[in-house]
Each structure stands twice: as structure tokens, then as C-alpha cells.
């Protein structure tokens, strides 16, 4: 039995409207209207359940104003799962009103069908030079003409070759001590192949065989968060089939959002499907963030070279509050000789990206990002390290807007640089 929207009333009444969420909600910090904070969203959802309200355009727009950053959930004295409630509301909207035709095209045709996605991305890679110009210092690119995207918006270009095309299905080492599957996720596969390469290289160095299944899909989170559960389930089932085919010790992710989907959300999505419920749970138990796996191998500290760098770290929402990975990346950074680790104020506050949120609410997402960039600049660091490609792109955009010449990279890249420093390899990463 699929859970009815009305059944969420049990969760809704647990909100005692204390208002603690006002202290942490990044959207409320900018907009200040009561309807834009977690307890307001919960009240609105309750209003629809009790039929005071209905699924009006106004309600739909309020439900879209949530980054799903989970800050309110962690901070809530009663532990109300606000993110799950907003997701349930978005699902109800899609169930009752259907998807917009653009979202239908993106979710149900492109993201779901790997070959369409692949073809689109390879065409896009050629066409992007016509409409984008290179950003300063070789990082990112800027729109040449109005595209419905702010012309100051720094986007990262599609890689000349997707990650999956750069490697064989299995990247082997001699005498492996572990064998893992690498779930790349879309951004690492199509845009930030440098992160993907670093993950593979580091794992190989640590004596791990890395399997990169060609048939893996988008994790489905963007689709699910927009309420299209039917498509999200299909994508989940396809990924479970592909990932569980491999005989491996762990499934490694380098993105908190993909990681949370695989680790917990697939099991929730598929709990009523006899064939998949157990398999989803089984997959969930195998999922590890890249930094979790690395730190669990105590000997990653050996053969690290010196990097004279000032580094700060941004906690991606779904990595820190979803997968509870907070200490591991810091442990890796602090192990590197020469690195000065400078913690920023509130490192776990959302950068404002929120995946597709930054495309649909660019102005707002920029304002949220400005606070993050201020906190970053205050540290005096030269490099921002993070564990999520969406954060990386959004923070890079923010740094560019404020004309700060800083680099943003994944934890795996910093670690790779440190290993290479030991071997005397000069890295090409610009700072």
C-alpha cells in the first residue's frame, strides 16, 4: 500500500511551532516571511491535509522554496522530518496535478534513459563552446548570451569525455585487498571527471580494484525531490540491478546526495515491492562515502607528500546530515603535511545550491551563497575542499561573482595531489 498524503498528519502534529527552525533555515534567513520557514511549511501541509487549503499555485510555490538541506530536521527539538513532509507534498502535487511538460521531458525521457542522456551530453559538449565563453583563470564558463540563466552565472563545462568512457569497466591493481563499485553520479561522470579520476586513482593506490559499471544511471534524487515517484522508482530498481550484479565489498560514492539515495532512500521508495525491498536494504548496507572508506584504511596516511596550502572545508548537506560524514574529510585534510586547515564559521550551512533549486530560484540561491562565500573568504584559505559536485559548482560561481581567485575541489582531488607531491609529480590544478 502506497502511503497516502493524509497519513502524514501523524508527523505534522509533532511540530510544536517552537520556531527553532528560524535559526537555521537558509531560505528563511533571506526571505523572513513566516511561510518560508520549516514550521510554516509544516503548517501549510497540515492545512492541505485538514482541507483548510488546497493545492493552489501559492501552495506549490511555497513547497518549491525548500533546499532540502535538512538543517531544520537536525535542529528540531521534536525531530520533525520536515524534508520528508515537503517531499510528500511535492509528490501529492505531481499525483494530483501532473508534472510540467519540461520536467516530464527531463525526468521521464532524459534522466531515465541513459542513452538519451549520454547522446544529449555528447552533443552538448560540442555546442557549449558556441554559447559559453571560458571563465577567468580557466575555471568554469560563462554564458555568452541570455539563456534564461543569469549571464554572470559561472557554469562548469561538460567534460570532453565522460568518466565512464575514460575507464574500462574494471580498473584493476595487482594484489587487490578490496574490490569496490564506484557509483559516479551524473556530475562526476559528465562534468567533474577530475573528481572521478582522483577517486579511481586514490583507491587504486590504496590497493583497491574499482568497478565502474557502464549501465549505472542517475540516482534519481532530482526526480524524487520534485515529486515524480514513479520515475524515481524505475531508476532505483535499475541501479539496484546493476550495482548488486558486482561481487564487491562496498559501493563507493563521492557525492552525499547520490549516497543517501543508495543508502536509505531506495529502501524507503521500494519498501512495498517484494522483489526489491530487501535488495534495496542490502545495497544500502554496502554504501560508503569515499572519505569513509579511505579513513577506515588506516594506512592512507602513508606516502603523503607535502602541500603548502591553506585549506577550508564545506560540509555538503546530504553528506553531513544525510550520511553523517563530518570528521572523515577533515581527518584526511589534516593528515597532509604542510596543509593549514582553517575551519570556516558554520561549515555545515547550505551553500544555496539545492540541486535544481539553484536553476529555478537563482537569485535566492545566490543570496544564500553570498553568506557561504563570505564565511569562506574570512578564513583566508586558498582552496575550498568539499564532498559534493553541486556544492563545488555553486561555490565556484559565488567566488567568481565576488571576484575571489580561489579553487574549489573534492576531498579526493586534494588527497590525490598529496600523493602526487610525494612522487614529485607536479599537478596541473590551478589555485
Amino acid at each position: 500500500m502506497e502511503r497516502s498524503f493524509e497519513s502524514w498528519e501523524k508527523e505534522v502534529i509533532r511540530c510544536i511551532r517552537c520556531g527553532s527552525c528560524q535559526n537555521v533555515c537558509p531560505v528563511f534567513r533571506e526571505l523572513q516571511a513566516e511561510s518560508t520557514v520549516a514550521r510554516g511549511r509544516v503548517k501549510l501541509i497540515r492545512g492541505v491535509i485538514t482541507k483548510d487549503l488546497s493545492l493552489t499555485e501559492g501552495f506549490i510555490s511555497k513547497m518549491s522554496l525548500c533546499l532540502m538541506c535538512k538543517a531544520c530536521v537536525t535542529n528540531c527539538p521534536s525531530g520533525v522530518k520536515v524534508d520528508k513532509l515537503v517531499e510528500a507534498a511535492r509528490k501529492e502535487i505531481v499525483d494530483q496535478k501532473g508534472l510540467s511538460s519540461l520536467k516530464k521531458l527531463i525526468f521521464r525521457f532524459i534522466l531515465k534513459n541513459r542513452w538519451v542522456f549520454d547522446t544529449g551530453m555528447s552533443t552538448g559538449r560540442i555546442l557549449q563552446k558556441l554559447v559559453f565563453r571560458p571563465g577567468p583563470g580557466g575555471q568554469g564558463m560563462l554564458p555568452r548570451m541570455p539563456l534564461g540563466i543569469d549571464q554572470r552565472r559561472l557554469l562548469s563545462p561538460l567534460a570532453s569525455k565522460p568518466l565512464k568512457a575514460m575507464y574500462p569497466q574494471v580498473v584493476k591493481v595487482t594484489n587487490p585487498r578490496l574490490r569496490v563499485v564506484f557509483f559516479t553520479g551524473c556530475m562526476i561522470n559528465y562534468i567533474y571527471t577530475d573528481t572521478g579520476r582522483a577517486v579511481v586513482n586514490v583507491l587504486n593506490r590504496l590497493g583497491i580494484d574499482v568497478v565502474i559499471p557502464k549501465l549505472q544511471n542517475c540516482c534519481g534524487t532530482p526526480v524524487r525531490m520534485n515529486g515524480d515517484y514513479g520515475t524515481a522508482r524505475e531508476m532505483a530498481r535499475a541501479n539496484i540491478d546493476v550495482l548488486l550484479q558486482e561481487k564487491v565489498d562496498s559501493v563507493v560514492v563521492a557525492c552525499g546526495t547520490c549516497g543517501l539515495a543508495l543508502k536509505e532512500e531506495y529502501a524507503e521508495l521500494l519498501q512495498d515491492e517484494p522483489r526489491y525491498a530487501e535488495r534495496a536494504k542490502h545495497l544500502g548496507k554496502m554504501v560508503k562515502d569515499f572519505t569513509e572508506l579511505v579513513v577506515s584504511l588506516g594506512d592512507f596516511k602513508e606516502n603523503i607528500g607535502e602541500l603548502p596550502l591553506k585549506v577550508t572545508y564545506h560540509d555538503p548537506c546530504h553528506l553531513v546530515r544525510g550520511l553523517n560524514v563530518k570528521e572523515q574529510p577533515r581527518e584526511i585534510i589534516k593528515q597532509i603535511p604542510g596543509v593549514a586547515f582553517l575551519e570556516m564559521k558554520k561549515p555545515d550551512t547550505c551553500c544555496g545550491s539545492g540541486g535544481s533549486f539553484s536553476l529555478t530560484h537563482y537569485e535566492l540561491s545566490t543570496k544564500i551563497n553570498n553568506h557561504k562565500v563570505e564565511d569562506i573568504l574570512q578564513t583566508g584559505a586558498e582552496v575550498v575542499v568539499t564532498g559534493c559536485s553541486a556544492c563545488r559548482m555553486h561555490i565556484l560561481d559565488g567566488l567568481h561573482r565576488q571576484e575571489a581567485g580561489m579553487g574549489v575541489m573534492h576531498t579526493a582531488q586534494l588527497l590525490e595531489m598529496a600523493y602526487e607531491a610525494k612522487e614529485g609529480i607536479k599537478t596541473g590544478i590551478k589555485i
Partner: protein, 462 residues
């Protein structure tokens, strides 16, 4: 609300500071109280003014048109004083959020009403100064709201409440005039003490637009201990002995067995689950005298039968002890979905009786009432754990709450220590004020607000 009024308001505050959609307004039908506002209580408009002049214009307009105005800060009110009432103007003060000055020479600060209490505290503490009132909501609640409600907190036992720190105010009267009260001096007896009258007036007499607060030097250090008792009576007795012994801790918090069990289950802080009560005690002051003070408190706890005593020797250990208190709320919210925090306050010597009688009321109506309190100042927070979807139980809860109010007054206490009367307790007010007392208060209200536009229904009912 008539479109002409909305237009006029838009001219005053600007389009971007005014809300009229159903979804926006629906989110002002609640505050942090248990009071339920209905869709019929939907406001006509919510405005966020930025200056005292704008507020003055809004109130003049409202007074002319006889439109009710509900002032609101962060909406953390726990007595229903900031929920909308049908077709009113919700006046949100959050945009006026500047700390205007911190005057180290005169030990005062001047702030706008939308300043968040915790932010002011952090800022003055960096300068070695201290603004003590510490309501549980201080991370989000505003200074304007704290003054309007005369907020308290655990430190009340030693440092008093908001009222004790307000030297002067700038307010807008319901008829639109701007008025100042008090000033920047400690001593000030010119005329009636309007500052004290407005502090705790719950948004019924004026809208507060500027606040002059008194600061004190920040105590050098703190020392924290926890004492566990097998019987509630021993703990209550200990509280009386500590006070009678001339010791004034800065916090003296009491947790009952229901809290202890749930906290332990939830946060695993090492509390004996069979214990009847726990006292969490903190003393502050010069570091040389702290160990002597905590030693005396420890001695009293032992003498009165404490079965376990933990004195924190480091900051981290003190944090661990406070963890129990801070987990209190989250731990009981897992037991039942709806939590109602009451605020009855009794003379300190009556705490043992009050606790026993509240437990009897819980048994009589077969509901769960947990007790946590700022025991040092007699402020008990009887916490009712219930499920609002269970109508039959809700009726019993209501009767129990009525009885707790009657009991409080009977014991010489107050209907509310720090939450306010608001709309939630207005029907009980005469229990404490008497008919004459209420009549005089009504006359004051009428003198300032002849058309009853400012927060009608609060304190005096409808």
C-alpha cells in the same frame, strides 16, 4: 480587508514588505502556544515596517479604520499573544533588527525590537558585559517580544527577569503617537513608571520600537553540578535549604522521574532511571569563590539525601551535565506527539506541595504530566504529554489545566511566571487580579487604546 487599506499600507511599507496571499497569511495563525487559530482567524494583511514613523502611520490608519493590529516578533509566544485574529493587520517587527549602541561607560545597550536576544548576548559578552534574561527561545526570539512578554528563564533565580533590565523604551501608542519612557539612568522617578507598565503588557498598550537595556559585568566563571535524589520531596526540600542558606545559584533546575526516564532512554547521559528527581545547579561569580560555593551546595544536597552527586571539573563536563537538561524536551516529545508546556509559578516554599498536587491532578484525569522547573524561583513547567488527535483525551487535558490554574492561585502563586496570559489564559485572569484589579487594568487599556485595536482579546478576553 478593503483594497484601499492594503493600498495605503503598501504606500507606507512598500510592496516587498507586505503579504496578502492565503498561504502567507495562514502562517500567522499560530505561534509557539497551544492555541489553535482557525482559517476564520486569517489576517487581512501582514506588514513588516522598517521605521518607527512607518509604525506610527500604520497605527494611525488602523485606529482611524478600527482595524485590529497584532504585533509579532519571531512568533515564539507561548500564550497565544501573537496569533492572528480575523481580518487584522499582523505587524511584524523583525526588520527593525539593529543593535544601535553598546555603551560600556554607562553599562547600557540600545536596541531595536527585532534584535534577536541571543545575538545581543553574544555581542555584549565579547565586551565583558552581560544581559542575563535567558528564555529557552533566545536563539530566535526577539528583544521586542521579550520585553512585551517580560520573558524569564533559568537565570531568573539569581538575575531576575527582563523587567529588571529595561531602563527605557520608545513606543508607538495605539493612536499613533510616538512616546519615550524612562531613560539611560538607573535612578529615575519622574512620573509613573511607564517602562515597567509597558514591559509585560503583551502588545496590548503599545508597539515597542526601541529598548534601552541595563547591562552588568560578565561573571568571571561558572561551576556546575548535578544531584540525584530518590524522592521528589528531598529535591524540593534541598531547593528550599539552598535558598534559605543564603546561596544564590544562577540556575537551579528540577527534573522529575518522567523526564529522567525519558532523557536517559533518549540521550544516555547516565541518570539512574529509578530516581525521583534531579537537580541541576550552576553557580557563577569570581573564580576564587566558586569552589567554596559549590562545596556548600554539595554539602546541603548530601545532607538531604542525594544518592549521586556529579560536580563538573572542566567546561566539557559541565556541558555533559547540561546535556541532560537540554535533551529534556526532545526526549518527552518522543512519548506523545503533542506537548503542552504550562507555566504556573508558586512561592518557592510551596514547590513540594505544588508538585504533589499536580501529580494528583494527572492521576485524576489519567493523563501524563511531567514536571521540569526553574525550581529556584518557583517557576514550574508542568508538561502535559498528549495527542491532540485524541479528542476525548484533549477534553480531560483541558480540565486538568483548569485545575492547575486554580491550584496555583490557591498556593499564593501566579497563573504565569514568564509565558504571559495572552489569549490562552485570559479567562482565568480574575482568579488572580480580582474584579477590581481587572477593572483598573481595563481602564488603563481604554485610556491608551480607546478603540481596542491593539492585540484585542489578549489578557482581557473577547
Amino acid at each position: 480587508m478593503k483594497p484601499e487599506i492594503i493600498q495605503e499600507l503598501t504606500k507606507i511599507v512598500g510592496e516587498e514588505n507586505l503579504y496578502t496571499t492565503l498561504e502567507d497569511l495562514y502562517c500567522y495563525t499560530y505561534d509557539a502556544s497551544f492555541l489553535k487559530a482557525d482559517i476564520k482567524d486569517l489576517a487581512g494583511v501582514a506588514v513588516y515596517p522598517g521605521t518607527v514613523e512607518e509604525i506610527s502611520m500604520i497605527l494611525m490608519l488602523a485606529n482611524r479604520e478600527k482595524i485590529p493590529v497584532v504585533p509579532r516578533g519571531a512568533g515564539t509566544n507561548v500564550s497565544g499573544g501573537s496569533v492572528s485574529i480575523g481580518d487584522c493587520i499582523v505587524l511584524v517587527l523583525k526588520r527593525m533588527n539593529k543593535i544601535l549602541e553598546i555603551d560600556k561607560k554607562n553599562l547600557i545597550a540600545v536596541v531595536e525590537p527585532g534584535v534577536i536576544t541571543g545575538q545581543l548576548q553574544r555581542k555584549v559578552e565579547k565586551l565583558g558585559l552581560f544581559y542575563p534574561p535567558d528564555p529557552a527561545s533566545l536563539a530566535v526570539s526577539t528583544m521586542g517580544g521579550n520585553v512585551a512578554e517580560c520573558a524569564g528563564g533559568p537565570r531568573g533565580v539569581k538575575y531576575g527577569v527582563t523587567r529588571d533590565y529595561i531602563l527605557g523604551l520608545e513606543v508607538v501608542l495605539p493612536t499613533g503617537e510616538i512616546m519615550t519612557t524612562g531613560g539611560r539612568t538607573i535612578k529615575n522617578v519622574t512620573g509613573y513608571d511607564m517602562t515597567k507598565l509597558f514591559t509585560g503588557s503583551e502588545g496590548t498598550l503599545c508597539v515597542i520600537t526601541k529598548i534601552i537595556v541595563k547591562l552588568i559585568p560578565l561573571p568571571e566563571a561558572k561551576s556546575t553540578m548535578m544531584a540525584v535524589f530518590s524522592e521528589m520531596e528531598q529535591a524540593s526540600e534541598t531547593v528550599s535549604e539552598i535558598i534559605a542558606g543564603g546561596l544564590v545559584p544562577c540556575s537551579l533546575e528540577l527534573l522529575d522521574n518522567i523526564y529522567i526516564k525519558n532523557i536517559e532512554e533518549y540521550a544516555k547521559v547516565g541518570l539512574p532511571v529509578e530516581a525521583g528527581a534531579v537537580l541541576l545547579i550552576e553557580v557563577d561569580g569570581d573564580s576564587e569563590i566558586l569552589s567554596k560555593q559549590i562545596g556548600k551546595v554539595e554539602e546541603i544536597c548530601r545532607r538531604l539525601g542525594a544518592v549521586q552527586i556529579r560536580v563538573a571539573t572542566t567546561k566539557e563536563e559541565a556541558e555533559d551535565l547540561w546535556l541532560a537538561r537540554r535533551s529534556a524536551f526532545a526526549s518527552v516529545s518522543r512519548v506523545k506527539p503533542t506537548i503542552i508546556g504550562e507555566d504556573a509559578t508558586v512561592p518557592r516554599s510551596q514547590i513540594p506541595v505544588a508538585v504533589r498536587r499536580i501529580q494528583e491532578i494527572a492521576a485524576k484525569y489519567n493523563i501524563i504530566i511531567a514536571i521540569l522547573g526553574h525550581a529556584g524561583d518557583g517557576n514550574l513547567h508542568a508538561t502535559i504529554l498528549t495527542d491532540e488527535m485524541d479528542r476525548e483525551e484533549a477534553a480531560r487535558v483541558e480540565k486538568a489545566i483548569d485545575e492547575i490554574f486554580v491550584l496555583t492561585v490557591e498556593l499564593g502563586g501566579s497563573l504565569s511566571g514568564e509565558h504571559g496570559i495572552g489569549r490562552a489564559k485570559s479567562k482565568f485572569i480574575t482568579l488572580q487580579t480580582g474584579e477590581i484589579g481587572l477593572e483598573i487594568q481595563r481602564k488603563i487599556k481604554h485610556a491608551l487604546d480607546p478603540n481596542n485595536i491593539l492585540n484585542p482579546g489578549v489578557m482581557f478576553g473577547v
